[in-house]
C-alpha cells in the first residue's frame, strides 16, 4: 500500500520517503532486505530478545513505534498491518495513535495522495465504504485491502540495494516490560468457528446440481 501510494504521488508534486519499522528477531532481516530492494529508504528492526514473547503486548509495540517517531525519525503517516498470524489483536494502531495524539482510521483498503498535507483514505465501516480526505499526521490500520501481494524486486536491485545494513534499535526491555506489568495476560483461547454444512445426496452430478439449484440457488436468483 505504501509503494502504491508512492507510485501514485508522481504528478501530485508530493514526495514520499518510505520507512519501515518492525519489532522482530534476526530471522526477519531477510524479508526486510527485500524492502530495501523495493526502494524503501529506511528499514529498521527493533531487536526483540529471543527469550521474550512480545506477540501479545500491543502496548510495548505501540510504545516502541511512538518512541521511534518522536525521538528518531518524524513521520507524517504511519500505516500498520493488522493481520499477523499470531497475536493479531487490532489494538496496536489505536494505542499508537493515542500515544502520538494523532487521528486513526482502521480497516483501510486504499490510499491516494491529495497534496502534501492530505490523503484520500478509503476504509470499510459497518458494511459501508467510507472515502475521507484526512490531514496528516495520522495512523492508518490496513483492513481487507484487495491485491495485498508485495511486489517482487529484481535480483539486480536485490544485489544493488539489499546489502544496505538494516538499522537496529536495542530497547531497554526490562524497563518496557516493567511498564507492561499493569496488564497481565491471564487467558488466551482460540475462538471456535464453525459453519453449518449440508451434504447434497444424489446418484449423479446432474442430480446433485439440480438439488443444489432447487433448494439453494433458485430462490436467491429469483430475488436478483
Amino acid at each position: 500500500m505504501m509503494l502504491k501510494l508512492s507510485d501514485l504521488s508522481e504528478g501530485f508534486d508530493v514526495v514520499y520517503e518510505l520507512s519501515v519499522l518492525t519489532v522482530g528477531r534476526r530471522q526477519h532481516e531477510a524479508f526486510l532486505k527485500t524492502l530495501y530492494a523495493l526502494k524503501f529508504e529506511h528499514v529498521v528492526r527493533v531487536e526483540a530478545e529471543e527469550d521474550k514473547d512480545i506477540r501479545f503486548c500491543p502496548e510495548i509495540i505501540a510504545d516502541l513505534a511512538a518512541g521511534y517517531i518522536t525521538d528518531t525519525s518524524p513521520q507524517d503517516v504511519v500505516i500498520m498491518g493488522v493481520q499477523s498470524s499470531e497475536g493479531s489483536n487490532g489494538k496496536t494502531p489505536l494505542l499508537l495513535a493515542e500515544e502520538l495524539g494523532w487521528p486513526c482510521i482502521t480497516e483501510v483498503t486504499a490510499l491516494e495522495p491529495v497534496d502534501e498535507g492530505h490523503l484520500k483514505v478509503t476504509s470499510e465501516e459497518d458494511g459501508h465504504t467510507a472515502v475521507q480526505v484526512v490531514g496528516v499526521p495520522c495512523v492508518l490500520a490496513v483492513g481487507n485491502a484487495p491485491s495485498s501481494y508485495l511486489r517482487v524486486p529484481t535480483l539486480k536491485d536485490k544485489m544493488k540495494l539489499g546489502k544496505k545494513p538494516i538499522e537496529h534499535i536495542v530497547p531497554n526491555w526490562d524497563q518496557l516490560l516493567e511498564k507492561e506489568r499493569d496488564v497481565e495476560l491471564t487467558e488466551l483461547a482460540a475462538v471456535e468457528e464453525r459453519r453449518d454444512a449440508v451434504v447434497i445426496e444424489g446418484d449423479t452430478p446432474e442430480e446433485k446440481a439440480r438439488q443444489l439449484y432447487e433448494s439453494y440457488l433458485k430462490g436467491r436468483l429469483e430475488k436478483i
Binding site: 495485498s148 501481494y149 511486489r151 517482487v152 529484481t154 535480483l155
Partner: protein, 485 residues
C-alpha cells in the same frame, strides 16, 4: 488446415456425438486455445493462438474413432487433452479451426486387479482420485507428479510424465502395462497386459510420450505397489550454495552405491528459499532423501545414506520432521493456480519452470552456465535457481525455476521478451553439454523447434513414425515436430 468450413466442422461433430458433447461457447473455445505455457496470456485473458472450432467431450474409444476419422477425412487438426495441466504448449491449437478432443468424461476405473497388482482405467481418470482410492486399499500407483490434483491418465502417459517418487518407482514408462489407443484413421489398438514380452519392439512406446501427435490414448493399465507410509524415513542436509557441485556428487554417490530412495533432491539456495525459508538460512542449498517401502528396508536406506553423507564435513544434517512437513505440501491443485493468477495480476511477477536432464559429468555445467547466462542476458529477473528431483544411476535432472517482473510489455509480447528467451538459453546450454532439453514435461510446441538438435540422427525415426501414423497431419500439429513456417 481443414478443407471444410468451421460451421461444417461443428455440424459434422454434432452429427457424430450429438450437440451436448460439442461445445462452441466462445469463452470455452478461447480458453482451450492454449495451456499454461502461455501463463501470462492466460492471466490477462489475451488469446493469440487460433481459436478452435469446437471442444468435444468423448465417452468411448468408438466415439474417439469416429471423431478422428471425420477429422482425418477433412484434414482437421485435433488436440487431444484430459486434465489440462500441460505447460509446454502441447494443448495449443496451432492451426485454424482445430478441434479439441477432451477425454475427461472417460473417467471409469475399469478394474483393480489386486492379485496381479495392476489397475486399468479410462483416460480421464484423475490420478489424485485413483491414487486416493488405491491408498484406502493399501496400494499406490507410485506416481505422484506435482500436477497430481489436476492430471488425468491419458495426459500423464501421453507426456511421459514422472512423479516425485521416481527414484524408486520410475517414470510412467516404467509403470505402464498395457494400453488402448486410437489412431487418426479410426483404428482402435489394444496392447495386452503382460509382465514383459520380447515379441519385437516395445510398441507401448509409440503411444507413451506421443503427446497427442500420433494417437489418442483411451485406456491405460498401470502397475500397483503396496502403500506403506508408516515406514517412510526422511533425511536432509543443508550445504552452502557454492557447494552445489558437491550436492550433485552426493546424489550420485547414493545412486551409484545401489540405494533406492523414493525421492532424492537437491535444491540450490534460491529455489530452497521458496520452500524452506521458515527455517533454512539464506545462502544454503539443501539435499533431501525419502526412503519408502518395507519396514526392514527403509531404516537400512536411511542408515546407508547417513553413513555416506557423514564423510562430507560441508553437510549439516537437518531435522527430518522439517522435511516431512515440506513433503506434505508439494502438489499443485486448482486453488494454487487461482491464487497464483491473482498474485501475477497484482505484482506482474511470474514464475515458470523448465526441466532438463544430464549425465553426472555435465549436469552441474548445464545448471551453472544456464543460470549465469539468464542472469546476464534476460532483464527483470527476480529469482533464478533450480533443483534436481529425479536421479538415475547415470545422471539426474535439473528443474530450472525462474521468476521475473513483466516490465513495459504487452501480454502478447511477454512470451518473446522473457519466457522463450529463457527457454532458448536453457536449451542451448543443454545441447552444448550433451543433455536432454526435456526431462518430463514433453516437448509440446514450446520446445519442438529444438527437436532436430535433441534427436540428432534418430530424428529420422520420429519423423517416420509421424508420417506413418498421421499421414494427413491432423494430430496435434506443431507438437513434437514443429510446423513449417
Amino acid at each position: 488446415m481443414a478443407i471444410i468450413s468451421r460451421e461444417q466442422i461443428v455440424e459434422g461433430l454434432v452429427g457424430i456425438l450429438g450437440s451436448e458433447q460439442v461445445i462452441t461457447d466462445e469463452q470455452v473455445l478461447k480458453e482451450s486455445s492454449l495451456d499454461r505455457y502461455r501463463k501470462y496470456e492466460q492471466v490477462c485473458e489475451v488469446y493469440t493462438q487460433p481459436i478452435p472450432a469446437a471442444v468435444v467431450y468423448v465417452k468411448s474409444a468408438e466415439e474417439v474413432s469416429e471423431v478422428l476419422k471425420f477429422a482425418d477425412d477433412n484434414e482437421i487438426n485435433v488436440v487431444p487433452r484430459t486434465g489440462q495441466s500441460a505447460i509446454e504448449g502441447g494443448l495449443e491449437t496451432a492451426l485454424k479451426d482445430s478441434v479439441v478432443i477432451d477425454g475427461s468424461t472417460m473417467n471409469k476405473v475399469i478394474k483393480v486387479d489386486e492379485y496381479n497388482m495392476q489397475v486399468t482405467c479410462q483416460c480421464g481418470v484423475p490420478l489424485q482420485e485413483l491414487d486416493d482410492m488405491l491408498r484406502e486399499r493399501g496400494y499406490t500407483t507410485g506416481h505422484s507428479p506435482q500436477s497430481k490434483p489436476l492430471a488425468q491418465m491419458g495426459g500423464l502417459v501421453a507426456t511421459r510424465s514422472i512423479g516425485q517418487f521416481s527414484t524408486l518407482y520410475g517414470g510412467i514408462e516404467d509403470m505402464i502395462v498395457g494400453m488402448e489407443a486410437v489412431f487418426p484413421n479410426g483404428k482402435i489398438c489394444r496392447i495386452k497386459n503382460v509382465p514383459r514380452r520380447a515379441a519385437g519392439p516395445d510398441i507401448r512406446h509409440i503411444i507413451c510420450g506421443n503427446e497427442g501427435a500420433l494417437c489418442y490414448i483411451t485406456e491405460v493399465t498401470l502397475k500397483l505397489f503396496k502403500w506403506q507410509p508408516d515406514n517412510n524415513r526422511y533425511i536432509g542436509y543443508m550445504l552452502d550454495d557454492e557447494h552445489m557441485k558437491l550436492g550433485f556428487d552426493c546424489l550420485r554417490e547414493v545412486m551409484v552405491e545401489g540405494y533406492k530412495p523414493s525421492f532424492a533432491r537437491l535444491y540450490d539456495a534460491a529455489d530452497a528459499q521458496q520452500h524452506f525459508s521458515a527455517w533454512l538460512p539464506e545462502g544454503k542449498a539443501i539435499l533431501i532423501w525419502m526412503a519408502e517401502g518395507p519396514a526392514n528396508i527403509t531404516p537400512a536406506i536411511e542408515a546407508g545414506i547417513k553413513e555416506m553423507m557423514s564423510k562430507h564435513p560441508e553437510l549439516e544434517e537437518v531435522d527430518p520432521k522439517l522435511i516431512e512437513k515440506w513433503y506434505g505440501g508439494l502438489n499443485w491443485g486448482p486453488e494454487q493456480i487461482a491464487e497464483e493468477k491473482e498474485e501475477i495480476k497484482a505484482t506482474q511477477n511470474i514464475g515458470i519452470t523448465t526441466e532438463v536432464s544430464g549425465s553426472w559429468d555435465n549436469i552441474y555445467d548445464i545448471y551453472k552456465t544456464a543460470c549465469d547466462r539468464i542472469m546476464e542476458e534476460v532483464p527483470d529477473m527476480t529469482l533464478m535457481g533450480g533443483h534436481s528431483s529425479h536421479s538415475y544411476i547415470n545422471g539426474t535432472n535439473m528443474y530450472f525455476v525462474y521468476y521475473y517482473n513483466i516490465v513495459d510489455c504487452a501480454p502478447e509480447e511477454e512470451i518473446n521478451k522473457y519466457h522463450d528467451r529463457i527457454n532458448e538459453i536453457i536449451c542451448e546450454q543443454v545441447i552444448k553439454y550433451g543433455g536432454s532439453i526435456v526431462h518430463h514435461h514433453g516437448l509440446g510446441k514450446a520446445r519442438a523447434k529444438y527437436v532436430t538438435e535433441e534427436y540428432g540422427s534418430s530424428y529420422y525415426m520420429l519423423k517416420t513414425l509421424k508420417q506413418a501414423f498421421d499421414p494427413n497431419g491432423i494430430m496435434n500439429m506443431g507438437t513434437l515436430i514443429p510446423l513449417r513456417k
